[in-house]
Point group: C2
Chain length 408, copies 2
Amino acid sequence: MQDLNHRKATARLKILNPDGSPAANQAVRVDQTGHQFLFGCGVFDAVEMMKTRDDQKKQFLEERLAKWLRLFNYGTLPFYWGRYEPQEGKTAETETMAAAAWLRGKGVTLKGHPLCWHTACADWLMQYSNQEILEKQLKRIHRDVTAFKGLIDLWDVINEVVIMPVFDRYDNAITRICREKGRIGLVKEVFAAAKESNPDAVLLINDFNTSASYEILVEGLLEAGVPIGAIGIQSHQHQGYWGLEKLRDVLERYSRFGIPIHFTENTLISGDLMPPHIVDLNDWQVDAWPSTPEGEARQAAEVTEMYTELFSHPLVEAITVWDFNDGCWLKAPSGVVREDNSEKPVYHALDRLIHGDWETHTEQVTDSEGCLCFTGFKGSYLLEAAGGKASLRLDGDSDRTIRFIRKD
Amino acid sequence: MQDLNHRKATARLKILNPDGSPAANQAVRVDQTGHQFLFGCGVFDAVEMMKTRDDQKKQFLEERLAKWLRLFNYGTLPFYWGRYEPQEGKTAETETMAAAAWLRGKGVTLKGHPLCWHTACADWLMQYSNQEILEKQLKRIHRDVTAFKGLIDLWDVINEVVIMPVFDRYDNAITRICREKGRIGLVKEVFAAAKESNPDAVLLINDFNTSASYEILVEGLLEAGVPIGAIGIQSHQHQGYWGLEKLRDVLERYSRFGIPIHFTENTLISGDLMPPHIVDLNDWQVDAWPSTPEGEARQAAEVTEMYTELFSHPLVEAITVWDFNDGCWLKAPSGVVREDNSEKPVYHALDRLIHGDWETHTEQVTDSEGCLCFTGFKGSYLLEAAGGKASLRLDGDSDRTIRFIRKD
């Protein structure tokens, strides 16, 4: 059994009735309603749902998102420059804003992904000089981070910097400026722009490279004063589960910085594995990539082991499933639901962890002075008794008086 | 033909006779006597020669070093902490100083290697706390850099930092402190110590890792203000010659910083290649590793191609052959002479480049005012005419008056 004390806190409460008298000797239901930990998933379909005029598609996506919301409290919204702004000045702000507002209304914490990346970049940038590209990149960051402030306060500011200046699959505007300014030079500028527009945002750097290169990059960035709020680690495991040994090695090496770690893009698939000789996962193009019963059992077991390990590590604050449903990136069977929205074993495995093992539900009786003490997983709570109810945030040990409101 | 203009300079001289009159209409021999470029080689045997009490061995080493001196102008002397100071406080300073003085007397520029490294480190350090190890490391740098100032003004300050904190072959004092302080943290301290003791020294970082990791490390160090005087690149090619493609890729990636590049440890062997599956070259332990005729021809051709490429690159300022003779590290046939000091084809190939193609020897006639103009490879020159002689440094284009001294 992993030690999960760092995920828990103790509340010492004195509870008052709605009339202000001590709620003495009352049976109180204590139900956790939300997690401090960020259990995330890509939620690109929320934008799709806002945009579509096809009622059938809309309904299908609503059903999908209902399942999404039952499991997760943290969503990644797409800001790929080439898709967000396919023509210079014509952005997807409207539908993205609608999706963000809808999700925030349901209590979902949001992250924007990514503000700077060489892939899925805007082609129209290539007509400009490097100086102009950089100016447009920074302006884009200011524009989008400012527009979404309050709705989106976490950002993957820059993606895959290790490979960025040497990326040679095709010419693109971002590789050009990264080659000119250097990795650290560019990261400094894009982080500064994001920080300026939203000083309280959690700003991430994000990479699939977990080797010494990324480690050294993070060290160099911290030395250069870049305000990294969390280290983002991708873990697309199409070629097979990392296993505990690699997972622990990565955690150990990236813990050294004492900065929160986010597993930003996690994929474990429920079908045949991609062959090991593939270096760039995008090179694996298949017509169909079926999910299999054995694969689904394996996926559920691997996800359970991996989440358990990560949840037990004090510096890990977020894990994000990359694809909610099968058939997205590379057509992989990478989702927690199938393409038809039916739930896979991994959906229930995650549900058991997130809303079972790691969620606190208890009943306590207050003493003669209305006092009650409980220890539970950090997050939000609803307390309910015959005489009233109250909601509560438990982010750390606390000692306080709360007053019930009347139940309606 | 490579463009070598950056290696050359033009001297416009007005030459005076010893009596001060213009040396008009004189035939002047212009002979390059030394190179600005550092053509280097390990010269550990100079220390050995100073130390030995065995006359036969001494004579053998003298013969070896005579051949060394005929080819090279730049030597690497050993400062491996575990060998330089096998017991705390008992150093090899005496014999190393004697070797350094002897080599300087012969016009050889010297580099000390290395001041900080996890390999060949002093075992006695391990009894101390990390704080104490670091203090002793910095004190050692101050002591040795100060002691050799004027004799040794180039230092490999720190070696193989990319792997340093994750080196797991055996416990050692330096990996311990690197793990605690981080790569950049440690590099900053050891460079600061060296700089303090010899502000004019050229300080190198040195690594066998030429991947993005090292590139990013250098970038991070420069951002952190570490005074890197030259980027050291090892190129031990026991598993086969890199070839021009890799060489050019490395040069391109490391040129970006605009800092001099030194090829600090170059090995091309004249025997069977080490199998490609070996990761740590030290794992390849053989009883004997013969040099072969075909291997020697290959080695000479590869060295010629590699030196030609490197000499033509404006940022490369030094190339060092790692082993002067065969049978040193890993018993490899890696030398320019065999174990018995007989010259291999590569010795003559290098001689043809260094003292042939890339050395200027010409005869010019001064005009009626004693003026003479020549363009030659940068370095030192001897000018000789019937009426006298003069020595000259040609480090860049120059326009000056020189006065002959009488020939004796």
